[in-house]
């Protein structure tokens, strides 16, 4: 998949500028103190962020274009969704090792380019179990992590 460099940069810069405006507005709610207060530093930074984001946008629009390559967008989406699922399941059920085993096995299964399904399943289950077991032994037992 190819994405326009100009469009993506303009979008990112506008998001940075929006973050700057958000911060600038929030600093207005900070209590007034004599001299250099809690709003001083973030206020200066937010104004600089808005300024440079607009400058970078203008420079990008005037400069040369091109595309950025995002190969295998399905895999990118899969990794991101796996992360979201991992955090959601862990948060929802509070079962770290079970969640880990499920998500790791799922990732190993879907990302393995092997064609033989049976082999894929057995490799995913075996490697998933070994990784989870190692985490249990190293972090759970030796280092006393409270998952």
């Amino acid at each position: 998949m190819k994405v326009s460099y100009k469009r993506a940069t303009v979008l990112a810069n506008l998001l940075f500028a929006a973050a700057g405006i958000f911060v600038l507005r929030m600093t207005g709610d900070f209590p007034e103190t004599f001299g250099i207060g809690p709003a001083y530093f973030p206020k200066v930074l937010s104004m600089l962020l808005i300024g440079f984001a607009l400058y970078s946008t203008a420079a990008t629009l005037l400069g040369e274009g091109g595309h950025i390559a995002l190969p295998k967008p399905g895999n990118i989406l899969f990794v991101i969704l796996s992360g979201v699922l991992f955090i959601f399941l862990w948060l929802r059920f509070q079962l770290f090792y079970a969640t880990s085993f499920c998500v790791v096995t799922m990732m190993l299964f879907f990302l393995n380019p092997e064609k033989n399904i049976l082999k894929k399943i057995s490799v995913a289950l075996a490697v998933g179990a070994v990784i989870t077991l190692l985490v249990y032994l190293v972090f759970g037992r030796v280092l006393n992590f409270r998952f």
Partner: protein, 496 residues
């Protein structure tokens, strides 16, 4: 000589020696895996240090950093695929020498150059730590603010492709560092009523997410079934004195270049390797041999990247300013142990700092021994397929983010920042600039506000003190150098 006023027996405890050995073994393994680098390695191993003592914890991390710089050359030489960014220059001559049937010799040049460079960086650290600390102790808030500013100017000026985007990265990093309770007034800033944000954005989660998650996604976009296979028959690392003698001068030059560049915040070992390589080629009697397996072409970058590690530790241990992302993660290990790195630590706990420096030198020796006898074994580890590697890194990153505070919120932060970071890195926004700014943000704000309170709001406090003027001159020199190099590059691009 206060550097020798150290109880060396305290260094050779089983905890310290085990930490160094583990650091070296993990460092070489991570360094040679294409895609993973020392920063990811240090971030992933950080949770392991929580239950360790301060000295072994830091030694584990610095040994890992040092070993990863050598490890990067193993895959660069045997496969032609650099394990780390700073091993790219090594590929140019290391792989051709390997293809000629001498992988063991190529690895020998790399190993001995890495050892000499690492040793040079360590000795320089040992020699300069005392004088620099004595100078730094006289610094007050205006000087601290300007030194931190120098770090940001260096990282933007010397290490970025797109300056406006690097500046945006710096400002955004500084802005994120203001999240949490204001230390002067106790006012809660940008916490959005989330209790986990009252202490600010968790640093370890941010670093782990920013460096590990984009690597995981990058690996997922590549060939997932890739298994790197190399000929492990001729990998016995060996070099005679007759073969080593011609590269001694190159190694010395590379070590000096690497150490100096390491000291400058934000530049990093990659730049050091290319400058060292270019200098070796320029001063060589046979420059035409470069690119075809010249021993100097391996020795120059490898001595530079290892010397850089010692150099990069100097600003952290003497001034409290981490000069790179990897050093920043190491500095977080200090903070977790309740120690704020800086000149005060050397004054109050000299044994701690000297223990770390001597341990770092010991780690360099261990890299030499392990590298000599176990490189062939490490090369076999490259047979892990990418889809397994990315799953392990993903999982380790999540545990690393969780481990500091045992808070699931931190895992969410790491994952979100890492995912956003992946897309922003594709658009040339700078990670090193962002990380440096985030690390230095608190120091910059506190020293700036204190300075302005002292001067009752007058900015002249930064221009009227001798040390401040000297630091301002250095900042001006860096800006001048940056502008000159940009103008030169634009002129070169405009030439037909």
């Amino acid at each position: 000589m206060e550097i020798f006023a150290f109880d060396f027996l305290s260094l050779f405890t089983w905890q310290n020696v085990t930490a160094i050995l583990m650091g070296v073994l993990i460092g070489i393994s991570i360094g040679m895996m294409p895609g993973l680098g020392p920063t990811v390695g240090v971030a992933l191993v950080l949770p392991v240090t929580y239950t360790m003592g301060t000295v072994p914890a830091i030694l584990l991390l610095v040994a890992l950093y040092q070993a990863a710089e050598y490890g990067g050359s193993i895959s660069a030489i045997t496969l032609g695929i650099p394990g780390t960014a700073s091993a790219v220059a090594t590929t140019l001559d290391g792989n051709p020498m390997s293809k000629k049937g001498y992988p063991g010799k190529a690895l020998g040049y790399s190993l001995y150059a890495s050892f000499c460079g690492g040793l040079f960086g360590g000795v320089l650290l040992l020699v300069l730590i005392g004088p620099l600390t004595k100078m730094a102790i006289r610094f007050s808030d205006p000087e601290i603010f300007l030194i931190a500013l120098l770090g940001l100017v260096s990282v933007v000026g010397l290490g970025s492709k797109d300056i406006p985007k690097s500046i945006i990265s710096v400002i955004f990093g500084l802005l994120l560092s203001t999240v949490g309770i204001d230390v002067f007034t106790g006012v809660s800033r940008f916490t959005l009523d989330i209790p986990s944000l009252s202490e600010g954005i968790p640093f370890v989660a941010l670093i782990t997410g920013l460096f590990a998650v984009p690597e995981v996604i990058n690996l997922a976009t590549g060939n997932l079934g890739t298994v790197y296979v190399s000929d492990t028959k001729n990998l016995r690392v060996g070099l005679s004195l007759r073969e080593f003698r011609p590269v001694i001068k190159t190694i010395l030059k590379g070590s000096v270049i690497g150490s100096i560049i390491g000291i400058i915040p934000g530049v990093g070992p990659s730049a050091a390797t290319w400058i060292s390589y270019a200098e070796a080629k320029r001063s060589s009697k046979n420059p035409e041999e470069f690119g075809n397996g010249a021993p100097e072409g391996i020795a120059a970058p490898e001595s530079a990247n290892n010397a850089c590690v010692g150099g990069a530790l100097l600003p952290l241990l003497s001034l409290g300013i981490p000069g790179s992302g990897t050093i920043a993660v190491i500095s977080s290990a200090f903070i977790i142990k309740g120690i704020q790195p800086g000149p005060q630590v050397f004054q109050t706990q000299p044994d701690l700092i000297l223990g770390i420096i001597w341990g770092f030198i010991l780690a360099t020796v261990v890299v030499l021994v392990v590298g000599k006898y176990a490189t062939a074994f490490f090369a076999r580890l490259l047979t892990i397929p990418n889809y397994v590697l990315l799953t392990i890194v993903f999982f380790a990153a999540m545990i690393g983010a969780y481990g500091t505070r045992f808070n699931l919120f931190d895992v969410g932060v790491a994952f979100t920042i890492g995912t956003i970071g992946f897309f922003l890195s594709r658009l040339d926004y700078s990670f090193p600039c962002f990380v440096m700014a985030f690390i230095l943000g608190n120091l910059i704000e506190v020293s700036l506000r204190r300075s302005l309170m002292l001067s009752r709001g007058s900015y002249t406090i930064f221009f009227t003190r001798p040390y401040s003027i000297a630091i301002l001159c250095i900042i001006a020199a860096v800006l001048f150098f940056t502008i000159c190099s940009r103008v030169k590059r634009v002129r070169q691009e405009q030439k037909p």
